[in-house]
């Protein structure tokens, strides 16, 4: 009973956090900070997949989205300029 209620509360909280992280990724002018916001969004999304009983999708999302995509984005930002223009 208590566990079901906790799972329901987490089901409400995590999508709100995903939307907030996505909004930060759009709003930030600092591109490194935007990349980190995308990584946080991907990590929360993998947690949501795990709660929805899809552990293999959660593993793939945590590996690809939270680690490798962030690495590629940071490497690409390092080759250009850090601040977004205007």
């Amino acid at each position: 009973m208590v566990a079901e209620m906790l799972v329901n509360i987490v089901h409400i909280i995590i999508p709100i956090l995903i939307v907030i992280a996505s909004a930060f990724a759009v709003v930030f002018k600092d591109l490194i900070a935007a990349a980190i916001a995308v990584a946080a969004m991907s990590l929360l999304l993998s947690l949501e997949f795990y709660i929805l009983h899809a552990p293999d999708v959660a593993i793939a999302e945590a590996g690809i989205g939270a680690c490798l995509t962030t690495a590629i984005l940071v490497i690409a930002i390092r080759a250009t300029r850090r601040e977004e223009e205007a």
Binding site: I59, L68, I75, A79
Partner: protein, 156 residues
Amino acid sequence: MSGMSKIVKTISSITFPFVTIYGLYVIAHGHLTPGGGFQGGAVVASGCAMILVAYGSVWTMGKIKEKHLSVLESFGAIGFIGLAFLGLIFGTMFFKNFLVGNDFLFGEIGKGLSNISTAGALPLMNFAVGLKVIAGLFGIVLVMAYTTKAKGGKIE
């Protein structure tokens, strides 16, 4: 990117075997537990990318070249499609699981060497896909880091 501080290098060296062993576990148990070749390969490639960030692209490129990674990726693809065609040769159709049911290797439970792995050709296909994903993803990150390092001399 010529490597980070000694603290980062030490912690990366300590945690790299755990990440790699977890990824290989996901690959090897792909037919029993959630995950498989792609997921485990992504985990191992994440660990390799951690080593790349900690030690720098020049050091990593000195250890392994992208040509070798390309050869490994091709071996993974050839292994996967070769196992599928072996199903056509020894069995009845493409992707036929020709190893299941025999009592020599990778067959049923409780018959000698068959206890090693009990899903026929599926673990071998998982190993092939895992090898391809590890080599492919790590090759992408390695080449991207090395070329951006070599192009601009004034970037750190």
